[in-house]
Symmetry: C2
Subunit: 314 residues, 2 copies
């Protein structure tokens, strides 16, 4: 059963609540949300879209997964700036026949993710479209926002969170590989986690930060370019950080663990450049004079082509 | 020619500029925008999506029109709250073959609208999709946010801006009617204007407000429901406000001016309930005890079915 627009909004309101609270004066149900001026000196603001057939396929994910991961993808941008999530708006585009149960599942996933990062959904938009898309905008507060451009020669390069695991999970789903060795990888793909606490921890010391949405090599290259430095990745340290979970999943899907660690996206690990090790982070390389990306292995150093996933590549 | 994702972002950055300024510390080009804490006591926050084939057809509009009106549709929600636009994020979903010239035109329309309302685009997202969609989120500041729910019996009902004209323009485009009598209507459809100044003026006195996106009767009914009152529309006053432009356009497209004034959406007029007339507004009815919507004409009063356009209606 698919209901009309206003019935859908009423159902979402009943699931989410209005979102109103001490800092959210008007939540779901008016022309716009109204927020009280925050106490923090800065605000961080991001938007991210997940489109069916591009970012996900309905056969690989439940609608609850779609809601969860679309919210987390947006929240991860706040983590990457060292921001505390505040609240969110959700713009859903749905086919005419999209059923009420599916909508409830999708919104339940969003609500769970919103609860996990502490940023309630306080408004949004519903539109009709040919395929499902979920666009999430999040506001966070910030004491000190960490940009991509502050890395300096001599900084260490640090990571928190899985690298390559979600990519391995997606390959397992594509290939229909369903063995225990890929369980963690599929979970990483279906239920990625925005690393809010790690983001707050690194914001006290880091000079530059980014989250890994397109793949470690591509996202580290963004830091190198924005900071006008060379980023060196240490293969052994990276693979040690990725650990057995990636090694076993890579073997099960017939892929190379290093390629997955460098090229797999949507893990939402945080990568930072810092003079001091942020608590909870692992050193996987360093920053030096120069430009671009270098991989250091037992065989020596080589320049890395920072290819990630380009949504518009032919 | 269609470029890759990062080339597209570079082109947009070069058109929009980063958007950074005194209150926007980090604009386009990082994981998220960073804003300074505003001076105003409140923030108003909205999101709106325009989807090709649902909200517009490429044969009726230039890409510049699409950029303009998608931005204005979102900005109108701020006008309806009596808010001053601050800045915006734009999430574009584009087919793989969407050309660079079309993208430039779309962004040029967004930039023109952003300039007109004083809210620069300071970030966004690019995604691939089957059809074009433009999702815009805007933040505004606010001294006193006007909700839908404050209307009281005895208030007057006031309007600023065209009603029904954009709907007549859309009918003219659908039917291929291209005569001088529909010029103003087509312009209203292609280049609607968010009534920011009217919104600020009404916010000093109004008790409830809404913008007309779905049609006057439907949006006035939202005010009636949220405020738990009856809203009375006066036919003669409404048609006098709509004026010759609507009368002539309605005749040219073979439609009834009153039906267009009550049911036509996307004009983004502001409708407010207030004890005093807000400057620049016209009285078109009043608020009284009861519920629902009533139309008063020479023949007497009748209840109105607040049908607007339901995107999910079968």
């Amino acid at each position: 059963m698919a209901s009309g627009e206003f019935e859908k909004i009423a159902r979402l309101l009943s699931l989410f609540g209005s979102g109103a609270g001490p800092s959210v004066l008007v939540g779901i149900g008016d022309d716009a949300a109204v927020l009280a001026r925050p106490d923090a000196p800065g605000l961080v603001w991001t938007i991210d879209a997940q489109v069916e057939g591009v970012h996900f396929r309905a056969e690989w994910l439940s609608w609850e997964d779609v809601g969860w991961r679309s919210f987390m993808a947006a929240a991860s941008d706040l983590a990457a700036m060292g921001s505390t999530p505040w609240c969110a708006l959700s713009a859903l585009a749905l086919p005419v026949g999209f059923g009420d149960e599916a909508l409830l599942a999708l919104a339940t996933g969003q609500k769970a993710a919103a609860g996990a990062v502490g940023a309630p959904v306080v408004g949004g938009n519903l539109a009709r479209a040919g395929v499902v898309s979920v666009t999430t905008t999040l506001l966070g507060t910030s004491e000190r926002a960490i940009e991509r451009r502050g890395a300096r020669p001599g900084d260490g390069l640090f990571v928190a969170g899985p690298v390559g695991l979600a990519g391995a999970g997606m390959r397992a789903l594509v290939a229909g590989v369903m063995v225990p060795a890929v369980d963690a990888a599929i979970a990483a793909f279906r239920r990625p986690v925005a690393r809010i606490a790690d983001g707050l921890a690194m914001a006290k010391v880091a000079r530059a930060a980014i989250d890994v949405s397109d793949g470690l090599s591509q996202d580290a290259a963004h830091v190198a370019e924005a900071s006008d430095v060379c980023v060196v990745l240490d293969e052994r340290a990276l693979l040690a950080h990725a650990g057995d979970a990636l090694a076993r999943a890579a073997e099960a899907v017939g892929a190379d663990a290093l390629s997955l660690a460098l090229g797999g996206g949507e893990d939402y690990a945080l990568v930072v450049a810092s003079a001091d090790t942020p608590p909870g982070f692992t050193r996987i390389g360093e920053v030096r004079d120069g430009e671009g990306l270098v991989l250091r292995s037992a065989a020596g150093e080589r320049a890395l082509d920072p290819r990630g996933f380009d949504h518009f590549a032919g």
